[in-house]
Every structure is written in C-alpha cells, then in structure tokens.
C-alpha cells in the first residue's frame, strides 16, 4: 500500500473485536474531558505570555514519518498484548485493510495526514491581553480564547465546538468536530521564552490511538517597517508612517 508517506509494511488482517476498544476510547474520552474540566477549573491564575512573532523550526519539529511509524508500532504492540490476554498465539490485526474501517490503513494514515495538514502554518503572530489571546496562524483561521472567570471558553457552531483555556502554564484548544473527529492544540512556552511548542493531537473514532505531532516555533523580531497600518471600512487599509520616536 502506498500511503503517500513511504510506509509499506502495514500488517493487514481482519479483526472482529472492535466493540471493546471503541468502549475503551469512549471511556477514555469521558475521563479525559472530565480531567480537562477539572484541570482548567483548578488552573493557576498566573498565565504565561505567548505574545510575539513565531516562525517554525523544522529541525526541532516532529518528523511525520517517524511519528507514523511510532504509532503503527504502538498499535501492533496493543494488538499483540490483546492477543496474549486472549491466550492466542496469533495477534489480532493491528491495522485492517477496509477503507474507513476501524484501525484501517486509510484511517491511520488519514489521521497522520490530517495532523500534518492542519499544522502547516510557518508563522504565528500572538496577541495576548489579560483576558484574551489571539493566535493568528498563517494560511488558516486564528485560534482565539477569552479567560474571564474560572471556567473555560466554549464556542459552538453548526460545524463543531471549540473549548479553550489554561491547563496550568499551557494553553489548550480542543475542537470537537462531527463524525468522531477531534483536534487538540496544546501551546507550551519554553523556559527561556524564545521557544514555543505546539502539540497537535488528532483523534478519530475510527482509530484506537490518537496521533500527536509537535511543531516547534522560535521567536523572531519582524523588524520595524516604519509604516503603521490599520483596517477601516470605508477607506480599506490606511497606513501612516511611524514617528521616529
């Protein structure tokens, strides 16, 4: 199978025992959601400042192929453990062939491709205030969050539900989408304040293991252009030269 990632050694057999892992995932999601709520409600009031311009550091970011290999190995280990528990010498399929089936090759690879495609932004621009943060991401929609009160911010649209808030010193965005798809972005600032890690986890109800991809960003100074611009409705973007002071 040509996955588009060069991975050709996916073991393909059938499995009928999908109900138990699905239950485990749902239970996991339940516990995970409850834990997230508890964490966010107990969050430390002192927040981290992510403000600034960030550019992706490819050398420090995850390699998609390596992460996919790691995920497949994990699935195989789990299948083997389950087979051992069942007293069978032969392991159940780690990955099946049916498109869209549970732990199918297309689903596993699709998950990795999704993680890769939604984390392509090379540049981030973060504006953060006391009660809100706005993360502009190149070539995609911005992630924004408000921090009023102790509860976390939830916005619902016909296409999904987004929840965000602080988990101690980390900023979390969780997007629940239809068809069993969910995406989580976890922003962590390095100790020096010059390095930003964005861990993106994609979960599908068709794959028993989430796929996480880390993108590392370094702070950079875009420099002064000498021009300050602001958007207006009737005159479009209005730019003025900045004073030298």
């Amino acid at each position: 199978m040509d996955s588009g990632f060069g991975y050709t050694t996916i073991m393909i057999t059938r499995t009928k025992k999908i109900l138990f892992p699905v239950g485990l995932i749902l239970l996991g999601a339940l516990i995970s959601n409850a834990a997230l709520a508890q964490k966010l409600q107990n969050r430390n009031g002192k927040t981290v400042d992510f403000s600034g311009h960030w550019e992706m550091n490819y050398s420090e970011s995850d390699n998609i192929q390596a992460r996919l290999d790691s995920m497949v190995r994990e699935l195989q280990r789990r299948a083997q453990r389950q087979a051992n528990n069942n007293g069978s010498n032969r392991s159940n399929a780690a990955i099946s062939s049916a498109p869209g089936g549970y732990n199918s090759g297309p689903s596993v690879i699709g998950l990795a491709r999704m993680a890769d495609s939604i984390t392509q932004s090379q540049l981030l621009e973060v504006e953060q205030g006391e009660y809100e943060i706005d993360i502009q991401r190149e070539e995609t929609f911005a992630l924004d969050c408000e921090f009023y009160g102790d509860y976390f911010h939830t916005v619902e649209t016909p296409f999904g539900k987004e929840t965000c808030g602080w988990d101690s010193h980390q900023l979390l965005f969780r997007i629940l989408l239809p068809e069993g798809l969910s995406i989580q972005h976890r922003f962590t600032l390095g100790p020096s304040g010059e390095r930003l890690n964005v861990a993106t986890t994609v979960v599908s109800d068709r794959v028993s293991y989430p796929f996480t991809l880390n993108r590392v960003y370094n702070r950079f100074d875009p420099g002064k252009s000498g021009i300050s611009c602001e958007l207006t409705l009737t005159r479009g973007k209005v730019c003025t030269t900045e004073s030298s002071q």
Partner: protein, 379 residues
C-alpha cells in the same frame, strides 16, 4: 453493551464543557423570538395642526446598548460592544428625526441620561442589531408616570435596503412605527390630560431644585400616577426662576444634541457599510451551512478525505466569524475616535450640567431661604 457505548459517547461529547450560548437567531427562528418583522410603514402625521397645549416636549434617552454584563458572553452572542455603544447613540438620533418630521411635538431632545421631569420620556434597549435584524425595546412614559407603551419592535432588512441611500436607513420602518405609536397614543389624550402632563413635568423639575418650596403640589394617586394637588400662582417668582433655569438646562442639552448629530453624520457611511457587509456575510454563512449539510460525503468516515471535509467546513465557518470580527475592528478603527470624542464632549457636558445643577440648586435654595426665611434645603 451498545446502549452503554451510546451513553458513554453522549456524555463524553457533551457532558464536560458546559453549555455555550449560541449566536442570536436568524430567519424564522428570529421571528419566533421577536415577532414578525414590520412591513412597510408610512410616517403618520397629525390630521391637523396640533394645538399648542398638545406640543409636548420629548426627552429621548440614549439607548441601553444591551451588552451583557458578563463580557464572556459577548463574542458567543455575536455582540460587538463598541459597535453597540455607537448604535445606542446613533439610533435615538434617527428616531428623533422622525418625531421632528411629524411636527406633532415641542422640542425633541436626545438626552445623555434619563430625566424624571421630561413631559414625555422615551427610553430604549437594543435587543439585537446587525445588518439583517434590528430589535428594540422601547418605553414611552409621561411625567405623570403613565406608561404609554412598552413594546418590542422587530424590523428586518431586505436586499433592496442595501447599499443604503443617503438619508435612508434599512430600519426606517421601525422608527416610523415608533413615531406612529406615540402619536396614536397622544391623540387619545384630552386637553386636560396634556395640561396635567405639562404641569407635573414643571412641578417635578421645580421640586428637584427645591423640594421644600414645591412640596405638596404633586402626589401619587391610588394607581401610583402623579396628580396635581394645587398649583403655584401664575406670577410666583420662584416658578419663574425655575422656568429660567430649566431653559438654561435645555441650552446645554441642545448643545449635546449637536454632538449626536455630528456622530450621526460621521458614522453613517461606515455604519451602513458595516451593516451591508455583515448581512452579506450572514447570508453567505447560512447558504454555506445549507450546502454543506446537503453535500455528499467525500469519503467513508475515518478516511482522510472525509476528515478533511469535516475540518474544512469548520475552518470556513471560523473564517466567516473572523471576517466579521475584522469588519468590526475596521468599524471601530474608523468610528471609535468619533464616539470617544463625542462621548468626551457629552460626558464633560454631563459633568458641567451636574455641577451647574448643583450650583443652581444651591443658589435657588439660598434665594428661596432669603425670600421665605425658611432654612435652606439639605444638599
């Protein structure tokens, strides 16, 4: 087992994050909440030139912007506080223009704050405002405390309302309807009732300056409405002074009105564009949602194509919302300086008015004390 899984799925997906208010409704859902929108409304004029006694002065208080106290709900409800603040000063001015056009009233003034001694006071609250719908709650109450009406008005903009023709407004029907309702109510009043409204307004104003001198002239009846017990004599010098100070106050309020006119003139082109773009975005979003919900899936659930389709639908909806945010920012960049400037002037005027009131009241009390030998009223 399947039932257990269903329960787990339901709880896992919706149980832990709390409920989120949804953006305010559109279309039939909006009509269900606020009633049918107004149809075409013509401005009603009095059948004949009103008698001088019927020319009540109207105080039109700037509207309550209707911004929730908890700011966390603003973005969830699609409310832009700065725009609402500008609208709360802009909309009363349009209503004022309609009332003036009828020539059925005395002075119609936009007030920066409520005035208990207004002959007729109109107050309003913005319940919803965007390029597609305007919903206002408007209350009219006269100086006796009689509520003429307290009702919700809902108007819907249609495609032909945009681009807005200079001098027009997409919700002109609503302002005309409010004007018509006030006029209709006033036409049921007898000359004696008009007279009483005017007398009580003046006595209320006088009592606010010197409660001791004007105590007992007005009292509340069984229904809580104010009635005149007795009147000061026509040539009462104190009443003349009260009238003079009241005229002084009106001079200040007329000055404030000019600031609202300036705001109206400067804000109109930007505001009209904001509403037009906002409406187009809202329509596009509704159509997009309809298209997406009826569209065939790109692949089987769990495949990359299917996941991408799901994600892209969400992405587009987020981009729509953020386009609207950007429009709001553009609006604020253009109008906020004016609002602040006007606010500043009105606020300073308020301050002046308040301090002058205090001073006038103090002087009036002193004069009154000198003339009558009564002790001056407490501050």
């Amino acid at each position: 087992m399947k039932k257990l899984l269903l329960v787990l799925l339901t709880v896992a997906l919706c149980g832990c994050t709390g409920s989120a208010p949804k953006k305010e409704p559109q279309g039939p859902e909006a009509n269900q909440l606020w009633g049918e929108p107004l149809r075409s409304v013509a401005l009603m004029l009095p059948p004949s030139e009103p008698e001088p006694h019927a020319l009540l002065d109207i105080g039109l208080v700037i509207f309550d912007p209707g911004v929730p106290e908890d700011p966390v709900n603003n973005s969830k409800l699609g409310i832009f506080p700065e725009i609402r603040k500008a609208e709360s000063r802009y909309q009363p001015y349009i209503l004022r223009e309609n009332l003036v056009k009828t020539q059925a009233w005395g002075a119609v003034r936009v007030l920066p704050r409520p005035d208990a001694s207004a002959e007729l006071q109109l107050s309003g609250k913005i319940l919803h405002s965007d390029g597609s719908h305007l919903v206002l709650q408007v209350r009219a109450v006269d100086s006796t405390g009689q509520v003429w009406f307290d009702k919700v008005y809902h108007d819907e903009a249609v495609e032909s309302d945009y681009p807005v023709i200079p001098g027009n407004d997409p919700y002109a029907d609503m302002y005309r309807q409010i004007s018509n309702d006030i006029l209709s109510y006033s036409q049921q009043l007898s000359p004696a009732q008009f007279k009483q409204i005017r007398e009580i307004a003046l006595l209320q104003y006088a009592a606010s300056l010197s409660p001791e001198a004007f105590d007992g002239f007005v009292s509340a009846d069984a229904e809580g409405l104010l009635v005149v017990n007795r009147l000061p004599s026509q040539d009462d010098p104190m009443l003349e002074r009260v009238q003079r100070i009241k005229n002084q106050e009106f001079l200040f309020i007329d000055n404030a009105d000019e600031q609202y006119l300036e705001l109206y003139d400067r804000m109109t082109p930007t505001y009209n564009l904001w509403r037009q773009n906002g409406r187009e975005l809202a329509i596009y979003k509704v159509e997009y949602e309809a298209r997406e919900s009826s569209r065939d899936r790109d692949g089987r659930r769990g495949t990359y194509a299917a996941m991408q389709q799901t994600y892209n639908a969400y992405k587009r909806s987020k981009e729509h919302d953020q386009d609207l945010d950007e429009l709001a920012q553009g609006f604020n960049n253009e109008v906020a300086p004016t609002v602040l400037e006007v606010q500043g002037k009105v606020f300073r005027l308020n301050g002046s008015l308040d301090s002058q009131y205090t001073e006038w009241r103090s002087i009036l009390r002193s004069i009154f004390a000198l003339e009558t030998g009564l002790p001056p009223a407490a501050e």
